[in-house]
């Protein structure tokens, strides 16, 4: 894989993700003001002192956007990693053992999926104590139901292949079959799905924050920033649109990269050689 083999669309995505991730990691160095510092008037327009203007409390919007990238990316990433760990492990166990275990896990999964995700999340978050870890856990568990379905479908396809049968005949344990025979072959579609799920996690977190059950103020996060500044729209203040645009841009960037990954993995399989 060389740089020039990557299509331009994927480059745009990669650059977008890199910039966001860079801003998140180096926030204290690149942000002009502090995260919670009130530095000006309410909803000041864009100027040379405040590049993107100020928010509903007079905090610098650019600084909050940069610090917000931290929370948003970290929480979304943690939730995605956790949901994939749960989803893949359970779905592969279900596919590799079949029978009662598969039935139990799959029906439980169906049950979870039958409740609308957002309402389920709102109920859980309202009942459970408010902390970032609970938030991540709730997001991960709810998202893992989707991963479970995909993982089970992929693993079922692979587990009927003869090389898995050969491993079973050798007397290998289920754990070996899952992690050495099935997982390496399921990796590329799962990786692509991971990118997609990550984008959904960002959106989901933003939705929760907007509804007041996600990241709690005064910590900056993109969804919460939209909520804080939404009243400004009535007065023709664009402050709410900027974090909204950031969410949209990041989601698009992630999807550009995912599209490219998907195309790459599918073209690996699609090759035909005829006589």
């Amino acid at each position: 894989m060389r740089a020039r083999d990557i299509p331009p669309s994927a480059w745009i995505g990669i650059i977008g993700i890199t910039v966001t991730a860079g801003a998140a990691v180096f926030a204290p160095y690149v942000a002009p003001y502090g995260e919670r510092e009130i530095v000006g008037d309410i909803w000041e327009p864009m100027s040379s002192t405040f590049l993107l203007g100020t928010d509903n409390l007079g905090r610098d919007l650019l600084s909050r956007l940069i610090y917000g990238a931290r929370t948003t990316l970290a929480v979304a990433l943690a939730a995605s990693v956790l949901s994939f760990s749960i989803g893949i492990t359970l779905s592969f166990i279900a596919a590799a053992t079949r029978g009662v275990v598969d039935q139990g896990l799959s029906r439980l999964n169906d049950l979870m999926m039958s409740i609308p995700t957002l309402i389920f999340a709102l109920v859980l978050l309202a009942v459970l104590p408010q902390s970032v870890w609970v938030l991540i856990l709730v997001m991960a568990v709810l998202d893992s139901t989707r991963v479970f379905r995909l993982g089970r479908a992929i693993a079922l396809d692979i587990s009927v292949m003869e090389f898995v049968e050969a491993a079973r005949l050798r007397g290998e344990r289920t754990i070996w079959i899952i992690f050495r025979e099935i997982l390496p072959n399921a990796l590329s579609p799962l990786l692509a799905e991971f990118g997609l799920r990550f984008a959904f996690s960002i959106l989901f977190l933003s939705t929760l924050s907007f509804l007041g059950l996600g990241i709690q103020p005064p910590t900056a996060d993109w969804g919460g920033m939209v909520k804080d500044n939404k009243d400004g729209i009535i007065f023709a203040v664009s402050a709410a649109l900027i974090p909204g645009a950031a969410i949209a841009t990041l989601a698009v960037c992630v999807n550009l990269v995912v599209d490219w990954l998907l195309k790459r993995t599918s073209s690996l399989k699609g090759g035909r050689d005829d006589g």
Partner: protein, 543 residues
Amino acid sequence: MADFFTVRDLRIAAKVYPPGERPRDMEIVSGVSFSLEKGKVLGLIGESGAGKSTIGLAALAYGRGGIRITGGEVLLDGEDIVTFSKRDIRRLRGARVAYVAQSAAAAFNPAHRLIDQVVEATLLHRLMDRPSARARAVHLFEVLGLPDPDHFGDRYPHQVSGGQLQRAMTAMALCPNPELIVFDEPTTALDVTTQIDVLAAIKHAIRETGTSALYITHDLAVVTQIADDIMVLRNGQTVEYGTVSQIIEAPKEDYTKALIGVRKSRETEATDQSGTLLKVENVTAAYGNGVPVLKDISLHLPKGQTLAIVGESGSGKSTLARAITGLLPPSDGRILFDDEVLPALQKRRSKDQLRRIQLIYQMADTAMNPRQTVSQIIGRPLTFYFGLRGREKARHIAELLDAIEMGEGFADRYPGELSGGQKQRVAIARALAAKPDLILCDEPTSALDPLVAEGILDLLMRLQRETAVSYLFITHDISIVRALADSVAIMLNGRLQRFGPKSQVLLPPFDDYTDLLLKSVPEMRIGWLEEVLKSRHITSAGN
């Protein structure tokens, strides 16, 4: 008579994508020339990658994938179809030149009745009106020997057998009365007993309609029966071109001689019946629906010998292997291995019992994890059964690679980077790594080209001499049985039809099915097909 189809210095290139390099054009057919008279059949023969299908499709001015015709002429009635416009090509295909694919099951649309698909091209090209097209289709069904020709077309593709479908496809090609038909391995996917019927039907239909044909196959014996001329191809180049009798009776090139000479019989057989390794006693087995696929099978295999299990698809021969491995526990009967009763379920068997029975699959592609290197594939049984690691393991892997006649350079390759024959060799090495007493071979050579298959069989025989391993060899190819079996079991519809030492099973008196099976094996002899058809007692069960 003047030649009506002529190919002159045909060159075809394909875009290849070598890993780590820029895509480039590679010539896959270089400078092939032949000509065909009206009503004659030319057989194109060669191993996979020889370019025979590509040449066949060039007759329809078609190239699969990134394939382009880069030079030469394809003259049909004096017109060069390579230079045709898109519109002219559309008029040509299906009307003047027709194509019969290898897998009829995949080529028919399952949602439409056969008759509608058979007459489709004829109606599309406005060659006839619907009633006369139907009448012609029915006539062709009759010529091709299909049952109840008047109503055969009312069925859907899944309601007829594979052999019938292949003949329906031939009818589809013949219906618009084309000048040329391209047959692309039409009988390769069929059982021998079915193949002979389809072959006879195609031959009869070609005679009857006076059309010309290109017949593509890798089986020299098949093409001998049907073709007037034969062209042997290798790596996109002509090896030898002549009439059937020239090629079969007096081949000039070494490659052609090798093709004709493959599989000389080994007439000897081991007669020592002591020391039974595997004993199957009255085994009956069924899949989920309860219909038994194996009915009361009893057979035995002495140590260090080969038992061949023969039968057409659906006869239960692979199911027997599944029962022996414990993947499908028998509902009745028992299996003894080295005088011990094997637990019916694979999960209940000890590690040592599992080690002593290994399996080689038909498709080496799917039998190996594509994300593991050769050394990982071969090395795992070494670690798993014998706890070998590090240098000791590497030494054993090198030995095994040596045993399968592949160098150590292959150790770090992935299965995707190996040829079909090499993959099967690695699969053999994986089985061998467990130091088994019995290897179940499930048609290990049927997906391979004849010369490659010959190499694999030689390897298996050599390994048997060196390690005294026993083989249970599942096959539908009688010539393999003749070449390497000590004893033979013939299966039909889940029952054991005949079992015993090779010399007894393959010598008369035969029961009707064995007679049919043995006579259906194509022989490389002109006029064989006609002889056989005259002398048969029963027709194929499935046809």
